[in-house]
Subunit: 427 residues, 3 copies
Amino acid sequence: MSQTLCQTILRELEAIRLVDPHTHINPHHPASTSLADILGYHYYTELVHAAGVAREAIEDPVLTARDRVGVLAAALPRIANTVQYRWLVDICQRWLGLEDSRIDAGNWEQLFDASTTRFASDRWADEVLEASGVDALFLTNDFDDPLDAFDSRRYIPCLRTDELVFHLGRSEVRARLEACSGIEIHNWSSLRQALEQRFTHFVSRGAKACAISLPPHFSPGTISDGRVSTAIDALLQHGTDAHPNHHRALAQRVFWTLAELCDTHRLPFDLMIGVNRRVYPAGVYQGQDLYDSRVSLIQYKDLFNAFPRVTFPISVLASVTNQELVSYAWIFPNVVTCGHWWYSNTPTYIARDLTARLEAVPQSKQIGYYSDAYKLEFIAPKFSMYRRVLARILAEEFVLQRSWSEDQAIALGRDVLRGNVEKIFGV
Amino acid sequence: MSQTLCQTILRELEAIRLVDPHTHINPHHPASTSLADILGYHYYTELVHAAGVAREAIEDPVLTARDRVGVLAAALPRIANTVQYRWLVDICQRWLGLEDSRIDAGNWEQLFDASTTRFASDRWADEVLEASGVDALFLTNDFDDPLDAFDSRRYIPCLRTDELVFHLGRSEVRARLEACSGIEIHNWSSLRQALEQRFTHFVSRGAKACAISLPPHFSPGTISDGRVSTAIDALLQHGTDAHPNHHRALAQRVFWTLAELCDTHRLPFDLMIGVNRRVYPAGVYQGQDLYDSRVSLIQYKDLFNAFPRVTFPISVLASVTNQELVSYAWIFPNVVTCGHWWYSNTPTYIARDLTARLEAVPQSKQIGYYSDAYKLEFIAPKFSMYRRVLARILAEEFVLQRSWSEDQAIALGRDVLRGNVEKIFGV
Amino acid sequence: MSQTLCQTILRELEAIRLVDPHTHINPHHPASTSLADILGYHYYTELVHAAGVAREAIEDPVLTARDRVGVLAAALPRIANTVQYRWLVDICQRWLGLEDSRIDAGNWEQLFDASTTRFASDRWADEVLEASGVDALFLTNDFDDPLDAFDSRRYIPCLRTDELVFHLGRSEVRARLEACSGIEIHNWSSLRQALEQRFTHFVSRGAKACAISLPPHFSPGTISDGRVSTAIDALLQHGTDAHPNHHRALAQRVFWTLAELCDTHRLPFDLMIGVNRRVYPAGVYQGQDLYDSRVSLIQYKDLFNAFPRVTFPISVLASVTNQELVSYAWIFPNVVTCGHWWYSNTPTYIARDLTARLEAVPQSKQIGYYSDAYKLEFIAPKFSMYRRVLARILAEEFVLQRSWSEDQAIALGRDVLRGNVEKIFGV
């Protein structure tokens, strides 16, 4: 009964059209041009590298797209157990005519050829969006993105702020900020103006969120005007060589200012908490970051208290942090649970974390899932994974254990999958 | 088969009468007088607030009980997914004639009216206890509670000591201690005498436990007589403004002394580990506390070693600490697992934590559950939630996976639900 | 369907012959001589002690083997719920004719007598190995083990290095190192030579791994020649009384040197991360160690980066660390997941940790399980527990959820149970 029930609920969830609240899609090139774009996703390069293929063999600049697919495909049997491989199979079955679930040295050429043909269509991006049931999706835009020449109702801008908070010591980052804002940065006051200018620009172009990823040790707090002035002087003079204390003080103050600007401009501020960058610097591109699971939302207490009108959709990198996220969202009106991020985006962690959220966080405060995709083709398989987990929980914990009707369970699924995204981000 | 088996075991567990080893019941007003008492429980006020209702709207002092219920009920659909809402439905179905599982703007008045009628009976508290299968329950008594005018065999006193450990800097706390003990506190020796007097008083009135909740950073240790004298001098002189080191030293020494007195008086010492108070000071009453899950029982190593004759029933606030609790209870004779506390008191965390306990902690050392209730009506729905989880684990992990007989499984359930409470607390 | 499927997969997994990659077997006395050896395993003595039997009663030196079994057996009903008790029942059913699943005061004498008869056979060790399907197993050898007079193809040496890293302050440890290496240790250079000599000895005798257990606070790093010289001078002069900083510096440098020697000799370096020794010093023998779950693999970042050619099979003591292990193994080519250690070696933690590994770590990088056994009789029941969990996950998550064929699922099981042990350790 549970299996049938689960299937019924899953079918209903599959009919819900999506607004994907976090991706890395390039709106000018949203879809893949060949299987090389698919297999070039860091999940495949890093897993294949971890399974023993040298980075040089994967990233060799002389390789053609076809050859790179060949290198990666030959190693796929070593990662055939992973859920990431399962996404790949899903893509190849959906769009490249794969019939079984094997992709390896024996059939990659056929799939590659199918991809170049299929993906060449002018309408390919539209086809993928349509077949994936996607109405709109959020981008991840650099602070100096002009945000023009795309439909911002479909491709919704989101101001990504990691560089502004953590890399203002780099002269090229400051130069880019000066260039795009038209404001010369020579002290805190002018830096703040530049930040304000960026918010105005983004909001005027349809941005619906501000976002940042944060290392485990980061803890927001206030920094006085005097202290931040000293810090910015040091960074303007010594750049990345300035004392770490100055970098920290400026990061704190810029971060706090972003929260103020989110308040002013009524933007939700997506916090993605817990990543350590470049832990494995010899790893493949985008396959170098890891984390320290010893992080706590208590570090964000002052922020949550200081900005009651700013909504903070929060993603946590380590599943162990999920219980705190549940508890903080259950108490703080401005804390919202958001998706299943990166190393926690596999079925077992989704299942654990989602079950805990569904039974203790108000249903209006849960943003179920985002794809984090770089190419449109990944939205469907990732959401499919999520929907299966969601369907199983709704069936077992709500319909069977709590005697909910199927309709009630599906309505809860709809809020989590779609309704809350609309309400929380105002899209 | 598993479903039927589960139901059979559940029926047997439901027949076991309870001694609830931890509540906040007021023995002089143990039951609710209307639905306002039920909905006034912090689980509802905090969830409704977190879901967007202003604290002012919920706590407005001019509101009548009826109006307050109206405010809260209107927002209930936003938290209808939570297990706390499920407890509420259970209460309304058991005692207020609710037939479906919806409580909202459309039917709250009817339920409110039913509650004022039903709860007005002189025998209401007795009826609830009887219908809930409760023989006795533990209280949470302030240190200066006279403990008179109630039946201490049914309402078992428990000395709650948070104020003694953490708030002796407040002059009103010291004044209360002096008043109830009849001992003027002017140094460590007189403070210790006052503590002893309180233990004598509590034990003479039938107390069966001492209890405390502890913040994540607390780590018990010894403090010399000289050091504690300096500390108490500082607190007597400067009160809450004394240097934090003095507060810490006194807290450590008082805590250690409580353990000594538990040893002398043969009282178990309930430790509830991990809460940070007032993390969200703008939250509703009792809806302000959270935690930092980065806590370890290694912090309690010296305590467990120093007091081998004191039993420590331990509750942990974060589920991640449960594995340490399991391991410490598996090694230390004086460490006992105790219930599922607060943010870990939802079905998924109970299931995870209980499964781990049942397979590795001696069955004589597990206190399964307590309600933590403020009003009698909550004991039944909370234990019902627990019994369902327990029945599922006994059916699946013991009967199906380990080929136990149903009788064996039910006997294990009985130890955990009732037998161990009797043995460990001597009731 | 799921039950039948699970049984089918389990049968296939049970047919896979084993190489057990970590045990504490003594190759000269690999099997038990009576039930006293079985019940003397620390899992029973510590659980029975934790359940209330005094250490003195368990460890009284005047007790005969028979009497000691009597003492322990009488307390077994208190731990009959534990999975460790389940291993014991399994042993008694397999080899001592137990028919039901009760072992207590009523039948222990019969079982004891059966054990002395059965275990007395000259061929007992061979019989156990054969009945358990074990082709070979890894030992845990002290650094000064001569490694002679046993078949190192069946009993594979592994150099255990805890003493070399953490206890060179003890004069007897240095004396043993000097004696076995023939090198007088008077400075870092001679110490390093002695370490090299030990690796040469071990590799020449068939060692296939180096191993160490590490406390939660340990974080590998480099130490200069000058600093280590000062440290070793201090330890040679003051022994265990040398300043902790010197102990730490030497531990770091010796540990790093072991990694260098693993690199040179192409030995995997097993890291068992997270144990605090002697947390409960009044506990029974081997029942005194616990942990602090606040540990992170970020502490090992420099090590993993510095030794890309050394494979690190990693065991973590706390289940919470498993997600980091999964993530690090998914990125770092030289990090391999290894077994389910000690306090995480119970079905619920195995299930959680294994599910996460199977869905995100390349299948070529997972060493499923080791028994950690001190006596051969424990290999079968422990692997049996693991195989059941593995079969359930393969059936539910791979065959049912991901539509794998049974053969595919079994092949994955074979890699994890056997194939990867062969490939990673080169046996």
